[in-house]
């Protein structure tokens, strides 16, 4: 990779990082009337462009020392726990956005048509989800005033851990618990990142994911 990083000094919001003609604004920076400014407090880094990129300006990024809590955005992958299942939709509490755990409460909804990609009209919500299930989903849209719209209609998405009615953690695959082995690889990566992001070991999700990892 041609990516090179060069660390520079501490910057604060509003500090001028360079001219827009010479550098591009990356994460934590923005461009305004020909100048690139920092938008958060942190260390600025210069990332040189990859050789094949048409824009040969280096990108200036600011690595925040303290970023605000993660916020779901359309397209982000989230881990959520099912709180309520209705005949046409399920309500979930979002717990992780990408690799970061959220610090505030965010509610998501999976509608019947967003559970799987095929035979969407035959989905039985009560067979697909139960309260307490942990689900990996993608944020479809910001949704309405109440909740984010989530979808599990992709191979790598779906219930990643669940509890049976007897209280045992499920080992078998339900029809919607797809591509289990594929998930494990993902989980492994997930754990790595979670640990890196100070992810709490007490968290039930981490334990469950670890559980799956250990029983592979």
């Amino acid at each position: 990779m041609a990516l090179q990083e060069r660390e520079e000094g501490l910057v604060t919001p509003g500090d001028v990082l360079g001219k827009a003609a010479e550098v591009r604004a990356g994460k934590g920076a923005y461009e305004h009337s020909g100048l690139v400014y920092a938008s958060i407090t942190g260390r600025s880094l210069t990332v040189s462009p990859s050789a094949e990129s048409p824009d040969q300006r280096p990108t200036l990024e600011v690595m925040g020392l303290k970023a605000h809590g993660a916020v779901p955005e359309p397209g982000s992958i989230v881990i959520a726990r099912v709180t309520k299942v209705m005949s046409r939709m399920a309500s979930l509490d979002i717990m992780c956005v990408g690799f970061k755990s959220v610090s505030e409460k965010f509610t998501g909804t999976i509608r019947q048509q967003d559970v799987r990609a095929t035979e969407i009209d035959k989905v039985d919500m009560h067979l697909s989800f139960r309260p307490g299930d942990t689900v990996r989903a993608i944020v479809l849209s910001l949704g309405d005033a109440r909740a984010y719209y989530l979808s599990t209609a992709k191979n790598e998405l779906g219930v990643i851990s669940a509890t049976s009615s007897a209280g045992q953690t499920k080992n078998e695959l339900s029809p919607d618990l797809l591509y289990f082995s594929h998930l494990l690889v993902k989980s492994f990566i997930l754990i790595e990142h979670h640990l890196d992001e100070h992810f709490s070991f007490e968290s039930q999700e981490t334990q469950l994911i670890l559980f799956y990892y250990c029983f592979r």
Partner: protein, 273 residues
């Protein structure tokens, strides 16, 4: 235990020399009056800024300028209240309150209802609301002690708290007010000067972008005087902004030492592997 030292009375009796002495009243046309705290007309009070004053908040700041002490906490971004209408971009919710002991006479604090909306107006232009869609950032300001120029200090403190919370901002917001007293312009006025003012001017300014986010004027001003007052304020805002930046950098360098070069130190190692 009791009566050990004759110097210390057993019961408290308020000192007869209570602070009744009125400040040297400013009189019309008097050019050589002195400010009650002995400052020059265009001299600000010393400022002390600190971030991270409240642990539970996403970000917080404490500011002490003269006798005015303000604490601001920032929460979120978090889910907007159910009653709110849907919005693509983020929302800012501001609230300014006074403690009951913030003024010399308990519960005497004036009506400061409009401060919340003025704080909102001063800050909203400086925050990249697109960076937290649909969610709300709450800014709660508490004036611990009111010693004059409360609102500008609240605004500056809130912008520092937002930066501490890692909220994406176009620039910091520094705010300063100027009073017109007769022929003089006094910067960063204290409470005693408030009752004499003929007019006031408050500017909130993004020092690096060189943009005014909020400006309010009361009283009668000629164009030249407004011009002069604005220049004095902008100059002071620039200096205040520098102090705020220094405070943020100081806090950042301390926290990065604690974290041994975090964040991303290990991540980068992973990517390289």
């Amino acid at each position: 235990m009791t009566g050990k030292g004759s110097a210390t009375p057993a019961t408290y009796s308020p000192s007869p020399t209570s602070r009744k002495g009125k400040p040297p009243a400013y009189k019309d046309g008097d050019l050589n009056w002195a400010r009650p705290d002995g400052r020059g007309f265009q001299q600000c009070r010393p400022a002390y800024f600190r971030t991270g004053a409240v642990n539970a908040a996403s970000g917080s700041a404490y500011v002490e300028i003269g006798n005015t002490k303000v604490i601001v906490s920032v929460f979120g971004p978090r889910e907007s209240k159910k009653a709110m209408k849907y919005s693509d971009i983020g929302r800012l919710n501001c609230n300014v309150s006074y403690t009951s002991f913030s003024t010399p006479v308990r519960g005497q604090q004036l009506d400061h209802k409009e401060y919340s909306s003025m704080l909102h107006k001063a800050l909203e232009g400086a925050i990249i609301l697109e960076s937290f869609p649909k969610t709300t950032v709450d800014v709660f300001a508490l004036v611990l002690e009111s010693g004059g120029s409360d609102l500008p200090i609240v605004i500056s403190c809130a912008s520092l708290a937002l930066a501490d919370a890692g909220i994406m901002m176009y620039d910091l917001v520094a705010s300063v007010s100027v009073y017109s007293l007769g022929v003089n312009l006094v910067i960063d006025p204290i409470s005693e000067e408030e009752s004499y003012q003929d007019g006031s001017l408050l500017i909130s300014y993004m020092p690096s972008r060189k943009e005014v986010t909020q400006l309010t004027v009361t009283g009668e001003w000629s164009t030249d005087k407004i011009n002069e007052a604005m220049n004095i304020c902008l100059d002071a805002c620039g200096k205040l902004g520098e102090i705020m930046r220094m405070c943020l950098k100081e806090a950042a360098s301390v926290s990065s030492e604690v974290n041994l070069g975090r964040p991303g130190g290990r991540l980068k190692g992973l990517q390289g592997a």
